[in-house]
């Protein structure tokens, strides 16, 4: 979705550049003709009326006097104001090579670099200026913005907070400050920084950007306030309304979100993203049939966009209409045949429906498209095992372990398969399984699965204390998984800790009820689940 517009920074650059015009001495360094062109160029640039002509005059001046720092710098400035940042940068750079100590030119170069996204180069130049003039406020401001964009928010906050008067004058800087507050977890100060923008309602672009910053930080209430403040003034109404709807959706005001989106649909301004969000709003309201229709419209609006199909398929899966979801994904693959994510979705659905041989094909294709994705590779191995090809699964896992040696889930799956199907005899398999689970735990300290499997194995081997240790650790990592509590109860019971066993059983039953309510087909996946009327065109 596009709730964040590109940060408008030309104004800031213009400020920096134009400040510099006055600092560059206009004096004859070469031919009198050059000086004439330069003076005309300066005049036009300062008037700001005919920048292309100013650019032409200055280009002529530079052609006649290529080593004139003032001409080069002025041309760079005029180019920058016209957003020709790369060329501007080249001229500022040329000027700087002639006058390396000129801080104004360096600042302009840094500004041009920043606009091109050359953040590290810009930062280095700005750091250089501050070494010479540590109190240079425009530089501090710009460096604050650059470091924000570099993701170095602690340093950015330090810089921006030391130039607050200028920050308050420059909405772009206020936005950078707000972003950093959000990023460092200080939502209150982020909100405070953005609220200042509301005092300037006539600058809707800034409010939009502020709202976008808040939304990016998932402060949807603040974002909604800012977006709403410019509802009647923002030029791009459809984008604004979409963003308002998005914030309403994210704050669980599904009905209001739907109403806002319907407004756009009514105005004929709905693209696939609007239909998609409308679909999710309906879905959240429990109006799944309308949701499916909205998702279908999103597909019609942009049939090449795989995410539209994924929306519909996911919504159908949410409603346990897996066969219908599968047909949507199959339809999607006809439009976007080389989509790894669609192939994976197809594999997942086929697995869920028990179509294991088909799932192997899906994951094989996905794996061919993206051979370096360990998760896809692992899914292939799991589907092979489910399809009854344990030999193939062992082979795939072995390859995966070699190719992705740091991927703990491969080790866990290999261990699990080893214990389920055996390979080298019971004792050897168990020893190897235990070793694989240990390695997985060492690789991934958050692997609940590895601990769960290690716990089950310890229980089978009669090491109840160890089993409880692993299982409790797994339960801490995935507290809502019922199966862990079931195995934990078994371990406690064998250790004679009957109260703990009873408590674990109670937790198991409670979690089981939750799981069954969330996914009533959980245990029926080896067969199939009901076809939705949707898949059959509304009838059986």
């Amino acid at each position: 979705m596009t709730h964040c517009k590109r940060f408008e920074t030309q104004q800031l650059l213009a400020l920096v550049v134009l400040l510099c015009f006055g600092l560059v001495p206009v004096r004859a360094q070469s031919k009198p003709d050059a000086e004439r062109y330069a003076r005309e160029g300066f005049r036009l640039a300062q008037e700001g009326r005919d920048l292309p002509r100013a650019e032409a005059e200055l280009r002529e001046a530079v052609r006649l006097a290529p080593n004139n720092v003032a001409y080069l710098s002025a041309l760079g400035g005029v180019l920058a104001v016209q957003e020709k940042f790369a060329e501007a940068g080249r001229h500022f750079g040329q000027a700087l090579r002639l006058q390396p100590d000129n801080l104004s030119i360096r600042r302009n170069l840094a500004a041009a670099q920043w606009q091109q996204g050359l953040l590290r180069a810009a930062g280095a130049n700005l750091d250089g200026i501050l070494l010479a003039d540590p109190l240079d406020q425009p530089t501090i401001l710009l460096l604050g913005i650059v470091t924000t964009e570099l993701g170095q928010c602690s340093k950015a906050l330090e810089l921006l907070e030391s130039a607050m008067p200028l920050v308050h004058q420059r909405p772009e800087a206020a936005l950078a400050l707000a972003r950093c507050y959000y990023q460092t977890g200080n939502h209150a100060r982020g909100q405070e920084a953005l609220e200042r923008l509301l005092s300037e309602p006539n600058r809707p672009d800034n409010l939009f950007q502020g709202a976008a910053a808040a939304a990016q930080a998932e402060d949807f209430e603040t974002a909604l306030r800012l977006f709403s403040a410019i509802r009647s003034r923002y030029d791009d109404r459809s984008t604004l309304l979409y963003n308002i709807a998005y914030c309403l959706y994210r704050t669980s005001r599904f009905r209001a979100a739907r109403a806002t989106l319907s407004e756009l649909v009514g105005e004929g301004q709905a693209g696939s993203d609007v239909h998609s969000l409308l679909g999710w709003s309906y879905q959240q309201e429990g109006r799944s049939e309308e949701a499916f229709q909205a998702f279908q419209k999103a597909i019609e609006a942009d049939p090449r966009n795989e995410s539209n199909y994924l929306d519909l398929a996911t919504a159908l899966m949410d409603e346990k209409r897996n066969p219908a979801a599968l047909s949507v994904v199959q339809q999607a693959l006809r439009s976007v045949p080389a989509s790894k994510i669609l192939l994976e979705m197809r594999g997942l659905l086929e697995t869920t429906l028990g179509h294991y041989i088909d799932a192997v094909k899906s994951y094989s294709e996905a794996s061919r498209l993206e051979p370096n994705d360990p998760e896809t590779h692992l899914s292939l191995a799991v589907s092979q095992s489910a399809a009854g090809d344990s030999g193939g699964s062992f082979e795939t896992l072995q390859t995966g372990i070699e190719r992705f040696p740091k991927h703990a889930p491969h080790l866990v799956e290999y261990g699990r398969l080893l214990l389920a199907h055996g390979a080298d005899g019971e004792v050897a398999d168990r020893e190897r399984g235990a070793s694989l689970f240990q390695k997985a735990i060492a690789l991934d300290s958050n692997s609940a699965e590895a601990r769960y499997e290690a716990g089950k194995l310890a229980l089978e081997q009669g090491d109840y204390e160890q089993a409880i240790h692993y299982l409790n650790a797994a339960a801490e990592l995935t507290p809502r998984r019922s199966g862990i509590q079931h195995v934990l109860a078994r371990a406690y019971a064998r250790l004679g800790k009957l109260e703990e066993a009873a408590a674990a059983r109670k937790r198991f039953q409670s979690l089981k009820r939750e799981e069954d309510a969330a996914n009533p087909r959980h245990y029926g996946e080896h067969r199939t689940i009901p076809i939705s009327p949707f898949a059959q065109g509304g009838g059986r």
Binding site: L353, H486, A493, K512, R521, Y523, I531
Partner: protein, 565 residues
Amino acid sequence: MTSSAHAAGAALRFCSLALIGCRSLAGAEAPGQEVFTDIASSAGIEWRHFSGESEDRLLIETTCGGVGFLDFDNDGYLDIFFVNGGETPNGRSGRPVRHGLYRNLGRNGFENVTDQAGIPDLDLFGMGVAVADFDNDGFADLYITGHPRNALLKNDGKARFLDVTDQAGVGNLGEWSASAAWFDFNRDGFLDLFVTNYATLSTHDPPRCEYSGEAVYCAQTAYQGRPPTLYRGNGDGTFADVTERAGLRQLKGRALGVVTVDIDEDGWPDVFVARDASPNLLLMNRGNGTFEDRALEAEVAYSPDGIARAGMGVDAGDLNGDGTPDFVVTNFDTEFHALYYNSGSFPFEEVTRRSGLGLHSRPYVGWGTSFLDYDNDGDLDLITANGHLNHLIERTRHDVTFEQPLILLESDAKGAFLNRSDTAGPAFRAPSLHRGLAVGDIDNDGDPDVAVMRLNSQPVVLRNNVGEARPWLGLVLEGTSSNRDAIGAKVRLLGPDQLQTAVRWVKGGSSFLSSSDKRVLIGLGGKAVSDTLSLEIEWPGGAKDQVSGLVPNRYHDVRESRMTE
């Protein structure tokens, strides 16, 4: 208490020929000998099952097919009752869909006496059968389960059956019932009836599922599970629905199999219920008319990982020789059929993998199952009936087939099973859609024979060719204070030192949709056998009797003494 060699007709005459010493005590089948022979056709059983299968793929079409052994005419030979399915909206039969009652003619095979015995055309889709003498009149009666009601057929003693469902009050209207078990839960001497109910079912608007556009059976979870029904026998031929009072009403789930046996040796019969994608139940009888489900504590409710498996059939038997009933539950493919050791306290120990049952059952969808000592070596072996329900399964998996074989597993007496299916006979190498399974000694030769239902096909009747080679002891128990069938009785075979060497129960229910021979068979091949044997019998009502002087290789009538503890 009285004990006599069974004087009931042909049974005694046949057994009398089988004197100890006439057969090799070494036993065991000769190399290459077929363990079981399917005699259905040669014995005159032409009856075929009809499930009403259609493109509608109603789940009931594939979960039916019960079979029961009973000696309905008291001639000493076990007869067989086959439960037919029925027509479905789009699954029509060209001829009447009839259940089948076959009279055992001894060495002359079987004859179809369905009409002669007055088996009515019941207005229900048939699932299973539970056999018992519910009114203690000495004649075996039939309880037929199905949808949308069940039926009780009373044996009038003249080899004819009368539909007494309404008078008895056991119609279980509106339910889709599966297995049922006769037992005396309140130990008043009158049989009660536990009925498993599977799920709600609408034949007009059922859930529909497909694979690549082709209709397949929906997952069981598409069907809402139902609680069981418990009927208490009033002793006058009528029953009261005590489901609520017994605390069972809230136990909703898709139940398919049931076996009753005293699990904790408190004298009160308990109930193990196998359920399909619902946790199994272990209903412990509190002795006050109520039950408490302790399956979770016993660790039989779920798989070891906490997943409710697709429980279909269940049986109980002392597999490890510790005197307490162990349990087997048949499940879906890759779930493994489960084996639980009961050591007399909770939790039970699941030994599925350790026993080899996991390995042997991995690709199978199991239904009927029974512990049986097929070779009379003294250890309980295991037979299971398998068959998938998804006709497209081979397009979705490499390791599972649609039609599946019966499997015969022999206990090695050390806690593991050896797969004897390959040598057990052609029937074990012929994959099919097996469902209900019952065990009974149809030729009174002292070894267990087996009847197995196959969907939309002729049933299999397996004559055991090998067990008779080893010594055995047969018992026909008759309750007096207790229910006449002695369901719930526990039999301890005592060795020369009077120590227990084997324990058997007269169980209620067991297997899947089916009803096995209630006579007790004990293989003596692996035991120190004296010329005469001693037993202790604990009757369902609580009385205990000691019986001695029993000669092996024959059936003995044992009648409960009127004395109670």
